[in-house]
């Protein structure tokens, strides 16, 4: 970014640093920089310490490959979670999203990306070998492929199911279909096809007397 002579070099440096973050445009970067400038010193120190901490203290859990402070991570050490089901996701943020839903009580495996054949991202660039070594555990019964429903996610799920098919583990894929709050009239052909193919039975409503 070109620096105006009206902006001190140190502020310009901070603006430039914020601008490099994803989703931060030049105006937002400027606002954030001036916010830090006006904030109490302790707030700036907290921010700087948090930034350094995240780089110094985090590592990958050697089991699930999620980002963690302690290895193995809390999720892998939780005795309440079953070892029988491993939910495979593309990114660490996907673990947080699935955890928010509170439905999956098994373990996770983070691939750190998805196969993108046209960009030259292949299975060797992801944490696939680590997943395969986990599947050697006889207690693992099911692998849930929770990739994004886009081309890269489909390529990754297709590749993984071909590799895992020979290992005697059940392979499932999270359902595709209409998101909550969407309109059927705007849905595309593939989404509707998936939603109709994987439709579910509606349980008959029970009367108050139980009949």
């Amino acid at each position: 970014m070109r620096r105006s002579p009206a902006t001190a070099p140190t502020i310009a440096r901070l603006i430039d640093a914020f601008h490099r973050l994803p989703g931060i445009g030049p105006k937002s970067a400027q606002r954030l920089a001036y916010h830090v400038l006006r904030a109490p010193r302790s707030e700036a120190e907290d921010l700087a310490a948090a930034l350094l901490d995240v780089k110094n203290s985090t590592k990958l859990c050697q089991i699930c490959q999620n980002i963690t402070d302690a290895d193995p991570c809390e999720l892998c050490l939780d005795p309440q979670r079953t070892v029988a089901t491993i939910c495979v996701v593309e990114e660490p943020l996907d673990v947080a999203a699935i955890e928010r839903a509170g439905v999956h009580r098994g373990r996770y495996h983070v691939l750190h990306g998805a196969i993108s054949p046209m960009d030259g991202v292949g299975p060797d660039d992801l944490r696939v070998r680590e997943l395969l070594s986990r599947l050697g555990d006889p207690e693992v019964e099911e692998v849930i492929l929770a990739m994004n429903p886009n081309l890269e996610g489909e390529a990754t799920a297709g590749y993984l199911s071909r590799v895992i098919a020979t290992m005697g583990v059940r392979i499932t894929r999270i359902a595709h279909g209409l998101p909550v709050g969407a309109d059927v009239e705007y849905a595309d052909e593939r989404t509707l096809r998936a939603a109709l193919t994987h439709r579910v039975d509606v349980e008959p409503e029970q009367n108050s007397d139980g009949s």
Binding site: R134, G136, L151, E154, A155, V163
Partner: protein
């Protein structure tokens, strides 16, 4: 360079890449405009009305308006979703290889009607054929032809002798088949009679007829090698999507190897961790 006024066009989506938090840049290929790069706003949000209509390997009609630095997709409606290209990994791999060829060989905003027709016909055939690789070979031969790199299959590319099926070679650097005499000088790779016949058959046949041919593994590997070399020679680049095809071919072996490693005592880390817990 953004366009001056809005337009509406039919196009095939070749690929996408993320932009910011919620958008994607879509690479479209249109008959009258060639390659178009346009932003699909908000398509990474769950309630986006457009996201399913801008999926790669699909055909649709698109409204495109000039943006500040990039064009913007204002509306999209799918014409062909080709679900089997997404659900079947083999078809997807072949379709991606075709899409990569078009993506790498075309320029922004230059009409390419014959290539668009060829791409549309090939993806349509790929979506239903039982032998997706032969459709890609069929596409590749015609693609090379359209790009001005038509492989010579009738006469020796070196001495112009009429070719017989046996003893020939394929020299991608020379642009086609070499006769046994020229081949004796070490020119090109060996070309078996079945592979020679298949290349000539694909050249003169429709994609439906090509899809009906049964090809043995050795001939398929040979055709694959010769066409890959021809394309890389023509485009002067390595095709990334073919690496994934190689990975996919090795997938089962990798799974079996992992199973063997597990049964011989590896892959038991979780057991150890459970023991410590």
């Amino acid at each position: 360079m953004p366009r001056v006024r809005p337009m509406r066009t039919e196009a095939i989506v070749l690929r996408q890449r993320p932009l910011g938090d919620a958008d994607r840049i879509c690479v479209l290929f249109a008959p009258l405009h060639g390659r178009i790069e346009a932003v699909a706003k908000g398509v990474r949000k769950p309630l986006s009305k457009v996201s399913g209509h801008v999926a790669p390997l699909s055909r649709g009609t698109f409204g495109i308006a000039p943006g500040r630095s990039l064009d913007i997709i204002t509306e999209a409606q799918t014409l062909d979703a080709w679900p089997s290209l997404h659900d079947d990994i083999n078809r997807m791999t072949e379709a991606l290889a075709i899409a990569e060829l078009v993506d790498r060989s075309t320029d922004l905003d230059i009409a390419a009607r014959p290539l668009y027709r060829l791409l549309h016909q090939s993806l349509d055939a790929l979506a239903s054929t039982p032998s997706p690789a032969s459709i890609r070979w069929w596409f590749t031969l015609r693609f090379l032809d359209q790009q001005g790199y038509r492989p010579e299959l009738e006469a020796c590319v070196r001495c112009r002798a009429v070719l017989e099926p046996d003893g020939n070679g394929f020299a991608a650097t020379e642009g086609g088949v070499v006769c046994p005499r020229c081949r004796s000088g070490g020119l090109g790779q060996p070309l078996s009679a079945p592979a020679f016949r298949l290349l000539r058959y694909m050249r003169r046949s429709s994609c439906e007829a090509t899809a009906q041919v049964n090809v043995d593994a050795a001939t398929a590997a040979e055709i694959e090698r010769h066409l890959r070399l021809s394309v890389e020679q023509a485009l002067d680049t390595r095709l990334r999507s073919r690496d994934f095809a190689d990975d996919l071919a090795r997938a089962e072996t990798l799974g079996k190897r992992a199973t063997n490693a597990a049964s011989s005592g590896n892959g038991q880390r979780e057991d150890q961790h459970r023991a410590t817990v």
